[in-house]
Amino acid sequence: MNFVAPLWLAAAGLVGAGVVIAHLFRSTVPPQDVLPTVSFIPESTPLTVMRSRRVSDWLMLVLRLTVVALLGLALAGAHLERRAPSNIVLVDASRAVGSMPEVVDSALNAEFPGGKFVVFDSAARIATADEVRALTRSNVRGSLSAALVVAHRLVGHARDMDRTQLVIVSPTVREEVDSAVDPLIDLWTGTLKTVRVAAARPPAAGSWEIRTSGDDPIAAALAGAPNRRVGGGVHVVRSAATAADSQWAAAGGALVVWPTNGGGLTRRAVADSQGGIATGRDVVVAQFAREFQPGPGTALVRWADGEPAATERMLGSGCVRDVAIPVDDAGDVALRESFRGIARSLLSPCGDVVNFEPVTVPSPQWQHFGETAPLRTVPRAPVDTGKLPLLLALVAALVLGVEQLLRRRVGAVT
C-alpha cells in the first residue's frame, strides 16, 4: 500500500495517542434528578473528571481509534499500487502487414515473462501468446494510436512504469499513424523499441473512367492517372448519379459522385466558404465555396474546419463516394499537384484509401526506431488513488455512527 501524503498518517497517530490519553481520564456526568427551581442554578460545566491508570471503555476506545486510523489513511491517500508488466508488445495485424508469420515470430521473440501482447488493426485488444500465434491479417487499416492507448491502460499509473518496455512490431506505414501517436509516445516513460516488419505491397491502382461533358477541371486533374479505360472499376460521374450508376456500384464498383453543380447532394443550411481541403496526405489551400455537403459515411476529404468534404459509404458489394468540392472552371486549382493527389486518392478501390508509405520521422521519438530509446524525464502524472480513500472515509463515517449510537445508549460522556 502506498500513500500520497504520508504526513496525515503521522497526524492520525498523534490524534490516536490523544484519544488513548483521553481514555485515561474518566469524566462522568453526575446523576440526574428533577428540580423545579433548576433555573436558579448558575450555568457550569457538568463534568466531573477523574484520572485513572486503566483505560476506560475499551470498546469506545477501539471504535475511536478505528475512526482516526481510517480517516488518517483516507487523508493520506492510501492506494494499492499495481505492478506494471515487464514489457508490452504491440502486434500489428492490419492490412499493412506484408507477412503475418514474420510479425508473429517477431512478437513472440520480443515478449518475455511478465509481458503482455496487444494486437491491433483498426482496434486494439490484449491477447495471449496462443492468440498471437493464431493471428491472421485483417483487411482493415491499422491504428497505432489505439494500440498505444491500450498499452497506457495496461501500465496505468504504476510507479514502476519506467521499467516497462514497449515493443512495436509493425511496418509502421503512414495510414497507421495519426495525430494521437506522437503525444501518446511522449507520455511513455519506459523504454521504447520498434521491430519494423515488411509492409504489404500496395494494391495496384484499379482502372477507372470519368463521365463528363465538355472541358472539365476534374477530368484535367485526373488526366495523368494511369489505367483510364472504359468499363473500369471506378466511375467518376460529374452529374447526379442515376439508378443505373447505383446498380453498378452495388455490384462491386466504386462510384465517385462529383456533380458539377451539386446535383444529388444535400444543400447546406448556410452556404459559406472554406480556405482549403485536406486528406491524410495532401492539403490544398484555396478558397472553395461550400454550398453542399456529402452524404453520411467515412470521411475521405475534409474541409479546413474539419467537416467532411467527401465521404464513402458502402453499397452492396461496392461503394459510393460523395464529393462536395466545387471546382472553378476558370482557376488553376484543379491543376495543382496537391489537388491532383486528392483527386487520384478518390480513385482507390472501395474500403478507404490505402497508403502503405513508410512513416518518415514525425517526431523526435521516432528517430530511435530500430533501437532502444533512452529513458526520458517526463513529468509524472498525478497519482490516481482510485476509490480506496473514499471507501475508507465512508467506513470511518459508519464506525463513527456506531460510536455515537453506543455513546447515546450508554448515556454518559466518557
Binding site: 456526568v29 434528578d33 428540580l35 423545579p36 442554578i41 448558575p42 457550569s44
Partner: protein, 297 residues
C-alpha cells in the same frame, strides 16, 4: 347522604378539617352587598344590629329616620345599622409539572390540595360560596362557587382525579377570575411567575382580596448536598449541574426571587404566604386566615 366514595375522598383530610373548626376568615374590607353572610357589607342596611346615629342630610331616606328620637329631641337623626354579606371566594390551584415535586411521597401538589381544602372549609363555615379552579396543562378544571359543605367532597375528588404535568395555564385562570371578590392562588410561581403576578395585579386593582400561597418543597429550599444534574420537570431538556460551587449561588438567587415575589404581592396590597411542604397545613391555613383577620382588625 354523602356518597361513600365522596366520603372516602375526605378521609385523608379529616384531621385537618377537625383542627380548623371554629376558625373564621373575615374579609379585610367591607364587602359589596349581595347574599347575606358574615362579612360586613358596604351597604348600610336595616338589620336589627344597631351601629350608630348620624345626623340627617338632605337626600337621606326618610324611612330610616329615628322617629322616637325625633319626638324626644326634635332633631333629625338616622339610625345606622350594619348589613352583612357573603364573600365569594375563588381558589386557584396550580397543577403544573413543577408542583409534582418531590416526585415520590408528599409533595407540593398534595400540600397545595390540603391548603385549598382547609381554606375552603373555613370559608364555607363563614357562609361564603367557594369555587375551585385547577390549572392543568390540559386546561382548567373547575367547580363553581357553592356554599354547601358537601362541596368539600367534590373538591377532594377533583384533586384526586387531576394529573399534574406540563405547563399549566395558571395565568389564564387567574385572569378569568380577576373579578372575584376574594381570590386565592396556591402555586409555586415557577414557569410563568411574571405573567401570573401580572394577572394578580389586575385582580387586586379590580378590588379583589388577593391571597398568594407560595408553595415550595423542602428539597428546593435545601437541595441535596451531593452533586447532581438537575432538570426542569416542565422542560426536561433544560438541565443544569448542581454542585458545591453552584449551590450557594442557587440558594441566594432562589431567596432573592422569593423576596421579589413577596414584594410584588405586598405592592399590590395582596397577601403573600410562603409555605414549605414540611409545614403543617393547619398552620398554613391559620396563617392565611388569621393574617387576614389581623389586617381586618
Amino acid at each position: 347522604m354523602l356518597r361513600s366514595s365522596a366520603a372516602a375522598s375526605l378521609v385523608p383530610y379529616a384531621e385537618l378539617l377537625d383542627s380548623l373548626n371554629g376558625l373564621t376568615w373575615p374579609s379585610q374590607v367591607r364587602v359589596r352587598g349581595g347574599d347575606p353572610g358574615s362579612h360586613r357589607s358596604n351597604r348600610l342596611g336595616r338589620s336589627p344590629e344597631f351601629t350608630e346615629y348620624r345626623a340627617y342630610r338632605p337626600g337621606d331616606d326618610l324611612r330610616r329616620l329615628d322617629w322616637k328620637l325625633l319626638g324626644r329631641t326634635d332633631r333629625l337623626f338616622l339610625r345606622i345599622a350594619d348589613d352583612h354579606a357573603a364573600l365569594r371566594t375563588s381558589i386557584v390551584v396550580d397543577a403544573s409539572a413543577s408542583m409534582r415535586f418531590p416526585v415520590e411521597g408528599y409533595g407540593k401538589w398534595e400540600h397545595a390540595c390540603a391548603i385549598a381544602l382547609g381554606l375552603t372549609s373555613v370559608a364555607i363555615s363563614d357562609g361564603d360560596a367557594v369555587g375551585i379552579s385547577v390549572a392543568t396543562a390540559a386546561g382548567e378544571r373547575a367547580i363553581p362557587p357553592r356554599r354547601r359543605r358537601d362541596v368539600l367532597h367534590d373538591i377532594a375528588e377533583l384533586f384526586q382525579s387531576v394529573k399534574t404535568g406540563g405547563e399549566a395555564a395558571l395565568t389564564g385562570v387567574v385572569e378569568r377570575l380577576a373579578t372575584s371578590p376574594r381570590l386565592v392562588v396556591i402555586t409555586d410561581f415557577l414557569g410563568e411567575s411574571e405573567r401570573a403576578l401580572g394577572a394578580l395585579r389586575v385582580a387586586a386593582a379590580a378590588g379583589a382580596e388577593v391571597f398568594a400561597v407560595h408553595v415550595v418543597a423542602e428539597a428546593e429550599l435545601d437541595p441535596p448536598q451531593r452533586a447532581f444534574m438537575a432538570s426542569d420537570p416542565e422542560r426536561p431538556e433544560f438541565r443544569r449541574a448542581m454542585s458545591e460551587a453552584s449551590r450557594a449561588t442557587y440558594l441566594e438567587q432562589f431567596a432573592t426571587w422569593r423576596e421579589r415575589v413577596a414584594g410584588e404581592l405586598h405592592a399590590m396590597n395582596g397577601n403573600y404566604r410562603l409555605t414549605s411542604t414540611s409545614e403543617p397545613v393547619r398552620d398554613v391555613v391559620r396563617r392565611v386566615v388569621l393574617g387576614a383577620a389581623g389586617a381586618a382588625a
